[in-house]
Symmetry: C2
Subunit: 583 residues, 2 copies
C-alpha cells in the first residue's frame, strides 16, 4: 500500500506540475504559444539557377516553415529590414477570430510596417490544415515573400485518413524582372504586361536554363541540369519507401500561374482543401489555383527499382513557362537515376472541362458542417477588365479598387469619416450587361467603398466572370476571402440567373477560402459574417489585385476590442491620435 500510494503520489505531483506548466503556457490546456523572431530583408538568391534578389526571412527563401498544433498561439515578432519599403505578412487561411489586426493586409487590417520597425503578429491557429503566409503589400508576394504554415491536430486527435510520412510542396512562379518593376509595368500608360513567369518553383526551387528530364522527353533545347545537390535551385527530391502511403501537402502562392500537378504512374487521393477535410477522391492529376492548398495521399505501389516524375504545368493561360519537375525517389534506388518514362503530360492549357471536372469532384467530407439553407444578403460581383484614363484596370461592378492610406479596420472602428468612400459599393451590375462579349464602353472608375455586412448574417456572393478587353478572352480568377471559409455552392456557365439557385449544392459543398471563376462562368459562395473585422476578398492573381480586382467586407467592427497601436500609426488614424494629444 505504501508503494502504491507513493507511486500515486508522485504521479499526481507530475500531473499537477504538468497542468501548472500548461496553464503558464496557455490558458487552453495543452496549447502553446510558439514564438518566432523574423527579419524581412532583400537578399541575393538563385531560385531558378539565375541569380536575382528575393525578399527573404532570416536569410531563407522561402521563409521558414511554421509548424504548430491546432489551438496554439503563433507569435511572430517581425522586423522590417528592407531599405525603403513597408511590409506586412498575411496568414493565408487563418481566420484571425478575435485578432483581425493580425491578418496582415496592408491598408485593410494594419499600416504597413515601416523599415526599421517591428510588429508582433499574435494569433491563434484554431484549425488543423495546410496553410501558408505571404506578403500582402504591393507585389511583394511576387518578390518572394512567402512560406508554409502547417497546423497539425492537437495531441491525441487523429486525422480521418492514414499515412506513413508526409511532404510539403509550396508552389510559386518566378520572374527575372523585379516585383517593383512589375508594379511599374502594370501601372504604366500604355499598359505593359509582365508576361508569363520564367520559371515555376517547388519550395522555392526551379531550373531556368536546364531541365531535369532528358531532351528526348521535353520539347526544348535545354540541356540536362547537373547538380551537386546543395544549390538553392537543386530540386527538392521526395524520398519514399515502397508500399507506404504519403501525405503530400501542396500550396500555391503563384503570382499568376494556375497549375496542374501530377506524379507519374501514381494516383492522387485528395483529402484536404484549404484546411478543410474533403470526401476523398482519386485523380491522375490535379489543378491548383493561386491561394489554394490541398493534401493528397499517394501510395508507393510502383516498381521500386525506378524513380518517377513529379510535374507541375501551367493551366488556363497559353503556357510559355517550362514544366517544373522533381523526382519521386524509391528506396533503395539512387536518387540520381532518372525516370525511364517521360514526365506526365499535362492536360491542354485550355481544357477547362478537365478543370471543371476536378473542381466538381470536391465535396465536404461526410459529417462536415453544412451551410445555412437560406441567405440574408446576396452580392453579385461582376469581374471586368477596364480602362480608366488610358490605364488598364480590373474592376468589380465597374469599380476598380484603390486601397486608402488609412487601414479600414482603424477608420471604421474609430468612425473616421474621410478615410474612404462611405457610399455602399454596387451589389449587382446592369441586367443588360452581356458577359459573353467585349463591353461596348469599358470605362470604369476608381473606388474604395466597403460592403458592410450585418454581423452573423448569411452572405451569398455570386462571382460573375465576363469577357475581358480583348475579344474571345475570359480569364481564370481564383478569389480568396480573408477571415472566413465559405461554402462553394456551385459553378455555372454564362450569366448567373435566379434559376441557377436550384442547382446549388447545399448537401455537401466544400468549405474553402479560395474559389475559382472559370472563363465566362459564375461561382456561388456562401459564408456567415461571424468574424468581427474588415476582410479583403480578391482575385489572388497578384497583378489582377494590383490592377484593382478586389473588394472589402466589414462586419461587427464595433465588437472588435482595442486594436494594437502599432497597427494604426499611418494615415488618418495616426493623425487622429496625434491630434487628440493636442501637443
Amino acid at each position: 500500500m505504501i508503494g502504491f500510494s507513493d507511486t500515486f503520489g508522485s504521479r499526481a505531483t507530475i500531473i499537477f506540475l504538468f497542468i501548472c506548466l500548461a496553464l503558464v503556457q496557455n490558458p487552453a490546456f495543452g496549447a502553446k504559444t510558439r514564438h518566432f523572431k523574423w527579419a524581412v530583408e532583400s537578399m541575393y538568391w538563385s531560385p531558378d539557377c539565375v541569380e536575382n534578389v528575393v525578399i527573404g526571412i532570416n536569410g531563407q527563401f522561402p521563409g521558414p516553415t511554421i509548424r504548430a498544433l491546432a489551438g496554439d498561439t503563433i507569435s511572430v515578432e517581425l522586423t522590417n529590414k528592407l531599405n525603403t519599403e513597408g511590409v506586412v505578412i498575411h496568414w493565408h487561411g487563418i481566420r484571425q477570430f478575435g485578432t483581425p489586426w493580425a491578418d496582415g493586409a496592408a491598408s485593410i487590417s494594419q499600416c504597413a510596417i515601416n523599415p526599421g520597425e517591428t510588429f508582433v503578429y499574435r494569433f491563434k491557429v484554431d484549425k488543423a490544415g495546410t496553410y501558408f503566409y505571404h506578403g500582402h503589400y504591393g507585389m511583394q508576394r511576387s518578390g518572394g515573400l512567402y512560406g508554409s504554415l502547417i497546423v497539425d491536430l492537437p495531441e491525441g486527435e487523429k486525422e480521418p485518413f492514414h499515412y506513413d510520412g508526409e511532404f510539403n510542396l509550396l508552389l510559386s512562379d518566378w520572374w527575372h524582372k523585379s516585383s517593383q518593376l512589375q508594379e511599374v509595368d502594370l501601372s504604366s500608360k500604355p499598359f505593359r504586361w509582365i508576361g508569363e513567369p520564367q520559371t515555376l518553383l517547388m519550395n522555392g526551387r526551379g531550373q531556368y536554363n536546364c531541365s531535369l528530364a532528358a531532351a528526348q522527353f521535353i520539347n526544348s533545347s535545354s540541356s540536362i541540369c547537373e547538380f551537386r545537390g546543395n544549390e538553392p535551385c537543386a530540386p527538392q527530391i521526395l524520398h519514399v519507401h515502397p508500399n507506404k502511403t504519403y501525405r503530400l501537402r501542396v500550396t500555391s502562392t503563384t503570382a499568376l500561374a494556375s497549375l496542374n500537378l501530377a506524379i507519374g504512374n501514381h494516383k492522387l487521393v485528395v483529402v484536404e482543401a484549404d484546411g478543410n477535410y474533403v470526401q476523398p477522391f482519386s485523380v491522375d492529376d490535379m489543378d491548383i489555383y493561386s491561394g489554394e492548398s490541398y493534401s493528397i495521399l499517394f501510395t508507393t505501389d510502383q516498381d521500386p527499382s525506378k524513380n518517377y516524375w513529379i510535374s507541375l504545368s501551367v493551366r488556363g493561360r497559353e503556357p510559355k513557362t517550362p514544366q517544373a519537375l522533381t523526382i519521386l525517389n524509391y528506396f533503395p534506388t539512387s536518387a540520381s537515376k532518372l525516370p525511364t518514362s517521360p514526365p506526365p503530360i499535362a492536360p491542354l492549357w485550355n481544357d477547362y472541362n478537365h478543370s471543371k471536372a476536378f473542381s466538381n469532384k470536391i465535396h465536404a467530407r461526410m459529417g462536415s458542417a453544412k451551410p445555412p439553407t437560406t441567405y440574408d444578403h446576396r452580392i453579385i460581383l461582376l469581374s471586368t477588365q477596364n480602362r480608366i484614363d488610358g490605364y488598364t484596370k480590373w474592376a468589380i461592378n465597374n469599380v476598380s479598387l484603390v486601397l486608402p492610406a488609412t487601414p479600414y479596420l482603424g477608420s471604421i472602428k474609430y468612425g473616421l469619416k474621410n478615410a474612404f468612400d462611405h457610399k455602399n459599393p454596387p451589389e449587382d451590375f446592369p441586367s443588360d450587361y452581356d458577359v459573353m462579349k467585349q463591353a461596348p464602353n469599358p470605362n470604369s472608375t476608381y473606388g474604395n467603398g466597403v460592403y458592410m455586412l450585418s454581423f452573423n448574417s448569411t452572405v451569398d456572393v455570386i462571382l460573375q466572370n465576363a469577357n475581358a478587353l480583348a475579344a474571345n478572352v475570359s480569364d481564370i480568377h481564383p478569389w480568396h476571402l480573408h477571415g472566413h471559409a465559405f461554402w462553394v455552392l456551385g459553378y455555372g456557365e454564362g450569366k448567373f440567373t435566379k434559376e441557377d439557385e436550384a442547382k446549388f449544392n447545399l448537401k455537401n459543398p466544400p468549405l474553402r477560402n479560395t474559389a475559382v471563376i472559370f472563363p465566362y462562368g459564375w461561382t456561388a459562395l456562401r459564408f456567415v459574417a461571424d468574424n468581427p473585422g474588415v476582410w479583403a476578398f480578391h482575385c489572388h492573381i497578384e497583378p489582377h489585385l494590383h490592377m484593382g480586382m478586389g473588394v472589402v467586407f466589414a462586419e461587427g467592427v464595433d465588437r472588435v476590442r482595442k486594436v494594437p497601436n502599432d497597427a494604426l500609426t499611418c494615415g488618418l488614424t495616426g493623425k487622429m491620435f496625434l491630434n487628440n494629444k493636442g501637443h
Copy 2:
C-alpha cells in the same frame, strides 16, 4: 489741378490695393507663398537613351524646377504615389530656420511619407542662390528623385555681377541597375560594389550608346548620336548670342561621381558657391563634387560661326564613364553643326593638385560675413572604411551610422529615452591612429548617437580623411551639412594637428554647405549652432552614406515650436501619442 489730383488718387488706390494684396499673400511685404502640388511616382524613362525606371515628379524627370524670390515661402504638397516605398525630399542648401521638420531627411527631421499619403513641405527661402532638392531616404536620389531650386534676389535688388542671360545645369550620374538593387548590393555579405555609373547626365539627359562627338575625337567605338531633339536623352543645347555674358548655374546631385566641367575655348568665372557669393576668379575648368552648386559667368567672345563643347568628366575615381557632352551653340550658327575642335580634355582623374588649386581659389566675396575668430567646441571626425560582421561599412570615429526608426527631431523634442543611443558619440579618434596606412584592425560598430551642440555656440569640425580598407587608397568625400552654411577654414595634408590651426583662413573663408576632404587630408569647418533642430552632416556620396558615413547634430531643440503631426507618425513618436491617448 483736377487732372493731377485725379491721377494721384487712382495711383494711391492702386498702390493701396497692391499693398493689401501683398499683405494677404505674406506678412513680409512683397514676399509670396508659392504653392506646388507634386506626385512622386516611378515611371519609365530613358535618361541615357536606354529605357529604365526613374522616380519622377508629376511625370517629369528631373522633377520640376522651383523658382522663387528670396523671402518667399515655398509650399510643396507632396503625395507619395510609389507602391510600397516611403519618400521624403530634402531641400539642399535651404537652412529651414524655424521649420526644421521640413528639412526632408528621413529618420532625422521626419517620418518617411507613406505610399498614398501627402505631406506639405512649407519653408522660407531666405537667401538667393542656386540650390536643388532630392530624395533623402534609402538611395532614392540615385533612383532619380531630384530637381532644381533657384532663388532669385527680391525685386529691386541686384546681383553684384552683370549677365545677359542664364542657364541651369543639374548634373547627375546614372546606373542601369535600379537603386533598390544597388542598396542590396551595398548591404550584401560579401560586399558587392555597384561600380562606376554608366552615364553622366546634364538636366537628366545623357547618351549611353553613342557620342555627340565624332569618333576621331573620343577614345571609344561609339557611333555618333542622332537625335530629332525631342528624345528624353537628347542633349540640352545652350543657345547663346555672341558677345554676351551668361550665368551658368551648375549643381551636382551625383550619387558617386566627382565631376569636372569645361566649356571649350571659354573661360569660367566663378561667382557663387552653394548660395553664397565668392570673390570672382577665372578658370579653364572646374571641379564639382556631389552636393555642391556654383554659378559661373562666361562670355561669348569666340568665333560665332562655330559651336563649342561643354564637357563633363569624372574626377577622383579611375573613370569608366564616358565624358558627357553638350553644345554651346552660337547664334546664328546651326545647333547641329558639331564643334571643329575636340572636346576639352579633363585633368587626369587623380591630379589632386589641380583639384586642390581650384578649391583654394574659392574665397568669400569682399564684404561677406566673417567667421567668429574662436570656437567653443571642436569635433574631430575621422572617416574610415571598416568591416562589421563581414559587412563593409564606412564609419566616423569608428561608429557607422544606422538611422533609428524614430526621427530624432521628435524623439529629442519629446524626451523619448529609447529612440536612440543617448551616449555622446566620440569627438576624436585615438592619437596613435595612422591615417596614412590601412588600419591593423578595421572592425567598427554601429551607432546612432547625436552630437549635442550648445545653442548659438561656435563649432569647429575637423574632417579627417584616412586610408581605406585597401592599401594606398583614400577616397574623396564631399561632406554636406543640413540647416547651416559653414566657413571652410582650410584644407591640409595628412593628420590634422593643433599647429595646423595657424593656417586657418579667418579673413575671407568661403561660406558653403558642402566641403570635400581630399585623399589623406583634412578639412576644417566652422559654423554657429544657431538653428534649432536636428541636422544631418554626411558624405554626399550616396553609397557612402548608405554604408554609414554620417553623423547627426542637434541644437536648441527645446526652442523648436510644435512639430507638425504628419512628421511624427512613425516609430516611438507615433506610438507615444497613441499610448497617451490610452484608447
